[in-house]
């Protein structure tokens, strides 16, 4: 525990150092961050290896509150991506922020470190009040980070939406904690353990509150509306952390509450599954339709949160049907996907940030051919793109694979779970296909071909390149050695989450065995790829290899403007899913025999924003404006209010 506290301390020092506003301070802060993260990772690893916990308790002058930090395996497994990604993002920010005003840099560093600390405290807090406080500090510090460029109207709107969404979510969490706290007579999570035994009829209400409250942070559809606004607005390393790990604290909270409450009924799993499918499919569909690279990545976060929810749903279904093996696979898949998503989404946002840094635009239609100018960014981005598409031999495949296995087991083992499993499998397959289409689009349009606009680009600075390389390496390592990557934590985490009751349980052995086999297959694949690449190179050695223009069916002078654009790439999808996407199109068709100009633009706004929240907020605003007549300024009317109120209450009391 000392290590963990030391880690928080170092982060705090780093944050305060940032405020000093010195030129060299960013480097000092990120050094502190890396050192702190290293300590924290050691602490987390220790917990996972020993399976035990570490506790720090201190008194706190606040009703019902106590400073109770504890690392159990569940906290530790969330702590790892938080620390890892935050530290790497901190390193990345040194290069990324270079060139801004000192004061602004200081602010970013301060709030960024505050964000990291609060995330650590969120996952380690064992007291509801402490959790809430850290939760809110987390929201607020990230709000300030989103608002960094608040001179732009769009950024202000994004900041507003973000804080409103997260705060409304907190309202549900407040209700939940107050309720559970008063039922249990304490705000200590430990005292809540198995609370549904005492209050069986309330458990489902709590579950729903947790689902909404934590779902707003995690970005479950349709509570995701802030994500596509906030992520593009924030600086890229912040987007990486927010998307990679901050939204996962919502998943953490949900898992924590669900495991604390007690054995789940089947409909919890079904609900999560349904939410997951909706988020996954709609998230990726809307991602396809975006042209802003960071907005697109934000929608992919919705998709991946959906996948995590599908996995959790499968895990809960497995638990409620008494199919421990299925449950183990679902949980392991969901949790591994949390880590994986942190790695590749962090990587992708950093990549997008490098592109933005180098070219000054987020619009993918203006980019192209960057792989040649930014080879490292391009290559790591490709790894991230393949990983998020769930392709072997990368880490995304491993977690999706585990979730698939969970549902196959459910389908095979019970008739009741069969339909749900079929839906989940079909949904996962669809999501996978769409995601890979989307990332082919992004990668192909941004990094391949020829530049589409006059944007220049420079190579990625060292401090930005290193974190990306590290993340890419992590993606590959987990993908190629899945068994090794999962063996360490699975037993400890699943035991502490109550999914299995015994460290030597058969279900855990099955998990290990399956991973071993998958490892073998993937190993064979990788070996084969290397072998074929060598053979190809050997074949080509000494042969003439000419250089020419792209053939393109015989055009003599192809220009970059003739390339396929992102918009044209996704046109078949837009046609297929038009009913859902409802893109707004602005077209000027070519006219006459020698058309001079023609243009086509499409813009796809968010379905939930346009159809649900926009009208809802508009209605509330309109109703408020209509209610203005209540206060029309005439003092006589005001007096009447006083007297009528009095008369009303008195007569109401009299006739009761």
């Amino acid at each position: 525990m000392t290590l963990f506290l030391l880690c928080l301390g170092l982060w705090a020092l780093g944050g305060l150092a940032g405020l000093a506003g010195n030129r060299r301070m960013p480097a000092v802060s990120s050094a502190a961050a890396v050192a702190g993260a290293a300590l924290g990772l050691v602490a987390a690893a220790k917990v996972l290896v020993t399976g035990g916990g570490a506790v720090y308790r201190a008194g706190w002058q606040m009703p019902g509150a106590e400073i109770h930090l504890a690392l159990d395996p569940l906290s530790a497994i969330f702590l790892i991506p938080i620390l890892l990604l935050s530290a790497l993002a901190s390193v990345y920010s040194v290069g990324y922020l270079n060139g801004r005003e000192n004061r602004q840099i200081g602010q970013v560093i301060f709030f960024f470190h505050l964000l990291a600390i609060s995330m650590c405290v969120v996952v380690a807090a064992k007291n509801a009040v402490l959790f809430l406080l850290a939760w809110e500090v987390m929201a607020l510090s990230s709000f300030f980070l989103v608002m960094l460029d608040s001179r732009e109207t769009g950024v202000r709107r994004a900041g507003w939406m973000y804080l409103v969404a997260t705060h409304l979510g907190t309202a549900f969490i407040v209700l939940l904690f107050a309720w559970m706290g008063s039922a249990a007579g304490s705000f200590d999570f430990d005292r809540w353990q198995g609370i549904s035994r005492t209050w069986p009829h309330l458990a489902s209400a709590w579950f729903i509150l947790a689902l909404i409250g934590f779902g707003a942070k995690a970005g479950f559809w349709p509570l995701h509306v802030w994500l596509p606004e906030a992520h593009p607005a924030a600086p890229s390393h912040v987007s990486a952390v927010m998307s990679g790990v901050m939204i996962k604290t919502g998943i953490y909270g949900l898992i924590r509450i669900v495991t604390v409450i007690g054995p789940p009924p089947a409909w919890w799993g079904l609900t999560l599954l349904l939410i997951g499918l909706t988020s996954g499919v709609l998230g990726v569909l809307f991602a396809l339709a975006q042209h802003d690279i960071k907005r697109l990545l934000a929608y992919h976060s919705v998709e991946n949160i959906g996948i995590i929810a599908i996995g959790l749903g499968g895990g809960l279904l497995g638990m409620s049907y008494g199919m421990e093996t299925a449950a183990v696979f679902g949980w392991a898949g969901a949790i591994l996907h949390v880590i994986n998503h942190a790695l590749f989404k962090g990587l992708l946002f950093m990549g997008a940030g490098s592109v933005l840094h180098a070219t000054g635009t987020r619009d993918i239609e203006k980019l192209g051919g960057l792989l040649k100018k930014m080879p490292l960014t391009g290559t790591t981005f490709l790894i991230g793109a393949a990983a998020i598409s769930g392709l072997p031999p990368l880490n995304g495949f491993v977690s999706e694979f585990l979730i698939y296995v969970c549902f196959f087991k459910l389908a095979l083992g019970s008739a009741a779970g069969g339909a749900a499993a079929a839906a989940a499998i079909a949904g996962l397959a669809l999501i996978g296909g769409l995601a890979s289409a989307c990332f082919v689009k992004v990668f192909g349009v941004v990094f391949l071909g020829e530049p589409r606009g006059p944007t220049g680009a420079h190579a990625t600075p060292f401090s930005m390149a290193t974190p990306m390389a590290a993340l890419a390496a992590a993606c590959v390592l987990i993908g190629v050695f899945p068994a090794a990557a999962c063996r360490g934590w699975a037993t400890a985490v699943l035991l502490s989450a109550g999914v299995v009751s015994d460290a030597g349980a058969e279900s855990l052995l099955t998990l290990a065995g399956t991973l071993q086999w998958a490892n073998l297959c993937i190993g064979a694949l990788v070996a084969l790829m290397i072998l074929i690449a060598i053979v190809r190179r050997w074949m080509l050695a000494g042969r003439p290899a000419g250089q020419t223009v792209t053939w393109d069916c015989g055009y003599a002078a192809p220009t970059p403007r003739m390339q396929y654009t992102a918009g044209s790439f996704v046109q078949p999808f837009m046609d297929l899913f038009q009913a859902i996407l409802q893109p707004q199109e602005h077209r000027r068709p070519p006219a006459g025999y020698f058309p001079k100009e023609a243009s086509y633009e499409s813009h796809t706004g968010d379905l939930a924003t346009r159809r649900v929240f926009g009208p809802l907020f508009g209605w509330i605003q309109g109703a408020a404006e209509k209610l203005q007549w209540v206060q029309q300024g005439r003092v006589q009317t005001y007096l009447l209010y006083v007297f009528v109120t009095l008369a009303a209450i008195l007569s109401f009391q009299a006739f009761r």
């Binding site: 051919g369 040649k372 391009g378 490709l382 393949a386 769930g390 392709l391 296995v405 196959f408 087991k409 095979l412 008739a415 069969g418 339909a419 499993a421 079929a422 499998i425 079909a426 397959a429 669809l430 996978g432 296909g433 289409a437 990332f439 082919v440 689009k441 192909g444 391949l448 071909g449 099955t510 399956t514 086999w517 998958a518 073998l520 297959c521 064979a524 694949l525 790829m529 074929i532 690449a533 190809r536 074949m539 080509l540 042969r543 003439p544 290899a545 000419g546 250089q547 020419t548 223009v549 792209t550 053939w551 393109d552 192809p558 003739m562 390339q563 396929y564 044209s568 790439f569 078949p572």
Partner: protein, 313 residues
């Protein structure tokens, strides 16, 4: 443990050798059938071997626009196809690598190959190849759920979800009980098979100069050994997906590797003839109709799953 691993490695090599040796003949059979229907003599049966051999010996020409990804595309897609064959059991015996969940890997390997083919296509900066990639992406994301649902239906019948168990002799018993579900899945798989292998009515592998083409248009710029890898890879893909279909339809029992392999090849030859017949007698579908066909295959697999679920409860 070590000997186990050595055994497995030996099996893997044997299977690869078999697949590499046999697969190019299948497109040859298809071409022969089509020629026969058209009243031509057609290329010899072993023409694909010659093509591949010739291409392997050539040099290459690359566009200045392309990067290393353009060169990596064929390598990855060929390896993915070859890796997928490890999961398919030949004959009546288990495949070299078999475990619960291998059929998911089977489905995802095609995704890997597709991903890199598409990126390689976009790497040329050509509008044609971009268009091909776009269509490939759109259609495959409909085909993939159909494939996985069909596999789920089979898995439920077999009570296991490793490819070797699903395609075991147990299928004979299942045919006798749940023929309707298996028919549906077979039909769905046939559509998937035709789509994935770029065959009529979804795609036409022969004429890549039309604006309506999908797969072939993506590989326009490849040449030499790269094109050889692509051609070889598609033959292997034909083999792997075809083997899945053949094993479902005739889950014959046979003892050893060679007997089973021979039986499978006979089945695949029959499938190739069937493909030839389809290509000769049907027209290509309009592009806008293809999603409907794929949706149909999805519905067929889904219905198959429903039937198996109903039977199970």
């Amino acid at each position: 443990m070590m000997t186990d691993l050595m055994d497995t490695a030996r099996e893997i090599v044997r299977q690869w050798a078999f697949v590499l040796a046999v697969s190019p003949i299948l497109p040859g059979i298809v071409a022969k059938t089509k020629a026969w229907f058209a009243g031509r003599r057609g290329p010899p049966l072993l023409q694909p071997y010659r093509d591949i051999f010739k291409l392997f010996r050539k040099g290459a020409v690359y566009s200045r626009t392309t990067t290393w990804l353009f060169r990596a595309g064929p390598v990855v897609s060929f390896s993915a196809a070859l890796a997928a064959t490890l999961i398919i059991p030949l004959g009546g015996m288990e495949s070299p690598l078999t475990f619960q969940g291998d059929l998911i890997l089977f489905a995802y390997l095609w995704g890997l190959s597709r991903f890199f083919t598409m990126t390689a296509a976009l790497d040329t900066g050509s509008a044609f190849e971009g268009m091909g990639a776009s269509r490939e992406a759109a259609f495959s994301c409909l085909a993939e759920p159909a494939l996985l649902l069909g596999l789920l239906a089979l898995a439920r019948e077999a009570g296991s979800f490793s490819m070797s168990d699903v395609l075991s002799v147990g299928l004979i018993r299942i045919w006798s009980i749940h023929a309707p579900a298996l028919c549906l899945v077979t039909a769905a798989f046939l559509v998937v098979f035709l789509t994935e292998n770029s065959r009529i009515p979804v795609d036409d592998p022969n004429t890549h100069l039309e604006l309506t083409m999908i797969h072939e248009v993506m590989v326009l710029d490849h040449g030499g050994p790269d094109l050889a890898l692509i051609e070889y890879g598609s033959a292997v893909k034909f083999f792997a997906l075809g083997a899945l279909l053949v094993r479902i339809v005739c889950p014959i029992r046979s003892g050893g590797f060679w007997e089973g392999g021979a039986a499978l090849v006979i089945g695949l030859a029959a499938l190739s003839v069937l493909v030839g017949v389809i290509e000769s007698t049907m027209a290509r579908l309009r592009l806008s109709r293809i999603p409907q066909l794929l949706a149909l295959s999805f519905v067929l697999s889904g219905f198959g799953v429903i039937l198996t679920l109903a039977a199970g409860s």
